[in-house]
Symmetry: C2
Subunit: 306 residues, 2 copies
């Protein structure tokens, strides 16, 4: 037989009640059950656990060492059980977020700050620049939420819309597009397009604007960060497609100008991808709500998903 937590509980109960029968009551078993249990323990360890010829019962050294173990272990077990209960109620847990969109920091950091206030027990983490496909990692539990503007149909993954945002083209000050106010895909055939260094099919400008029209820019280059792209645009090295909120502050500082993609502008949607299982997890839903509200209140050129 193996030592189990049940036995430690018994030892503790016997030690506190000093009577088998009372201890058995406290443990919600019969006195007989407890007697048998102790006897088995004694046989497996080849040692008496308490002195039988005395009442109130007194533990032997062997019994004492089990009691010591019980006193060490049982509080730990109770703590762990409490933690598990929190996890199952969804008040505690883990939220590892990944973003592909580098400009998302702008709304994500404030959203996370707001989230922390309501859900202090949830451990937050943020990865960006996932070289690999984030969705398998999401399924595997390496990630818990992926921010994406490109919902794909993967079994076990749900895409919750966060907000719609206007994609714009950052162009140098005085660029010819500015007076038109917007561009059509064909306008870009002679331009150098600057994008984030991710797969083409993940870039809204291609997926939603250029590819449907069968247009490819003359040249393309990449930059890691928004500020770098703005720099390049400002230096007449190309034009960049960015969410309008990301361009906004640079327009105000007169570094670049912006034009819409198509008449009325091209709107994309940002989604939070989570495991379908987590659709029931309260803090997950709460995070999405908080991110929505935070972004809508903070960003320029965003609107609630229609």
């Amino acid at each position: 037989m193996y030592l189990e937590i049940r036995h430690l509980r018994s030892i503790q109960a016997i030690n506190t009640h000093k009577k088998l029968s009372a201890a058995a009551d406290a443990l919600c078993v019969t006195q007989s059950a407890l007697s048998h249990q102790i006897k088995n323990l004694e046989e497996t360890f080849n040692a008496e656990l308490f002195f039988r010829k005395s009442r109130p019962l007194k533990l032997t050294p062997a019994g004492e060492s089990l009691l010591k173990l019980a006193n060490e272990i049982i509080p730990l077990v109770l703590d762990a059980e409490k933690e598990l209960k929190q996890i199952s109620l969804g008040t505690s847990g883990r939220l590892h977020i990944a973003i592909e969109c580098h400009s998302c920091f702008e709304w994500l950091i404030p959203s996370m700050d707001n989230f922390k206030i309501d859900w202090p027990e949830v451990s937050l983490d943020l990865s960006f620049g996932f070289a690999f496909d984030p969705f398998p990692a999401l399924l595997d539990g390496k990630l818990d939420l992926v921010v994406s503007s490109d919902p794909v149909d993967i079994d076990g993954i749900a895409f919750l819309p966060l907000f719609d945002f206007k994609m714009q083209l950052a162009v140098p000050l005085g660029h010819k597009f500015i007076e038109k106010g917007f561009v059509v895909p064909e306008d870009l055939e002679d331009e150098t397009l600057i994008t984030y260094p991710v797969d083409r099919e993940r870039l809204d400008i291609y997926r939603g604007f250029l590819d449907p029209a069968g247009v490819t820019p003359k040249e393309s280059r990449t930059a890691e960060m928004t500020i770098m792209m703005i720099q390049l645009v400002n230096s007449n090295c190309g034009i960049a497609s960015l969410p309008s909120w990301a361009i906004h502050e640079y327009i105000e500082r007169n570094r670049v100008a912006a034009v819409d993609l198509g008449k009325g502008g091209y709107w994309g949607t940002l989604y939070a991808a989570i495991r379908e299982k987590d659709l029931q997890t309260p803090y997950m839903n709460s995070f999405v709500d908080i991110a929505k509200n935070t972004s809508l209140g903070l960003l320029f050129g965003v609107r609630d998903k229609k």
Copy 2:
């Protein structure tokens, strides 16, 4: 269902092997058993323990918290089991000794020192001046060994002889008994007898010498410690009955003289009383042996039990 150590072992095994089947092998159960077990756990805690859609297996936060618990608890359990094994083999344990005879320190302390060398794992303790009857305490496990010169027939208690010792009468220098060399009970009728403050029937001088002859000293008084008794004798305040070994050093320092009780002297026997159950305990027997040898080599006026 309740969380048990078995489950923690399973979580650990799953975490290290990253495969249910391999973990099951390591735990010597079938893969099916382990799968069922985990399923039960998940149902009781209402939380998944690892991500099923990924291989190698990865723990969820709930699984992690159980793993943490396992890593904390299992070493403690192993330690306790090792300790219990030591106790059952008799290489570890407890030896709480009680003495009534205050002069016994002289041989008991060196004996305990010698014992510690051979049995470092045994926890030693010494109580003296047990106001109450020590034998029930011995049966109850409050004590493990009682040094007594008065073997009584109690079920469950065994008396192991340590050594024979000569009882003598410490008398003031120049006392009239000295030239006789020994006294008969009647000689004490006109004396003040100094004894340890314990029940009369526990004192060898009464039990073995005076009571059989129906003699009671004129006066009696008590002293706690040997040195006090010697002081009183030296000051002509009475005569004291003590083991010859206890008087010996004071004779050499010319503080008192000693005379035998009866012609040839009165010899008592000192016993170690232990629980009969402990007759099989190796360190118990070893202690008695060590005490015997230490005393015989150290004390004056003792001999091996005939």
